[in-house]
Symmetry: C2
Subunit: 113 residues, 2 copies
DNA sequence: CTGTATCCCGATCGATACTG
DNA sequence: CAGTATCGATCGGGATACAG
């Protein structure tokens, strides 16, 4: 599990990285287009959103569906695997948010010491 | 949940960052000393282990107990909050590892396309 | 609208040496 | 043993411009 070369570490980093989790989190509610995603993931740049989506698509967590229309329209959604993964990730996030009072208290105690 | 300024994002990054999760993962099995941790978290440097532990301790996820002996002995362990957090994180990691065949298959398909 | 390409800066991280 | 200090190299990531 903690071997350096373990291939799951790469995927784990995509999911838990700075933008991966947030991106999957907003996709849980349903498919979104590129610029909708960009607006909902607070602070992400075009470049990072593009890179994040490519990594998640390559890992089979996100499905990309491009309509050959003009102007182009591309919908991103979670695959079944992506949805299962997002659920576990959200369980972690929600747990952390629920416990933030404890965390903040611990930080206060640490800093004053 | 996805606000840029949300304080839980900082803690989330400590937990899901490159070393935070791995460090908490090895601590689930019980308390460990500094160099034991260093050996078990494959590839981590002294500096990063030190920084990681300080961040997790400040967040109230890891407990640090120093014995005033010579040579010094310091034990690191998970707090109850840290344990609950680690469980959810491990649920994510184990899920991902169990599905790695699917992930690798998706990557193959993506790359050949 | 949906991206890609380029530049560039600062943060991150590893290696090394050193201290208590 | 348990860290801290310092120095480079690397890399993530933002801004901008551009393409289909």
């Amino acid at each position: 599990m903690f071997a350096k070369a373990c291939p799951s570490r790469h995927t784990l980093e995509h999911v838990t990285g700075r933008w991966g989790g947030l991106t999957m989190g907003v996709l849980v509610d349903g498919p979104l287009r590129f610029n909708e995603l960009r607006r909902r993931v607070d602070g992400i740049s075009e470049k990072m959103l593009s890179q994040t989506l490519q990594a998640l698509e390559r890992d089979g967590l996100v499905h990309r569906e491009a309509q050959p229309t003009n102007p182009p329209r591309v919908d991103y959604s979670l695959t079944p695997l992506g949805r299962e993964t997002a659920e576990r990730l959200l369980a972690l996030i929600h747990h952390l948010e629920a416990r933030m009072p404890e965390v903040l208290e611990a930080q206060q105690a640490y800093d004053t010491r």
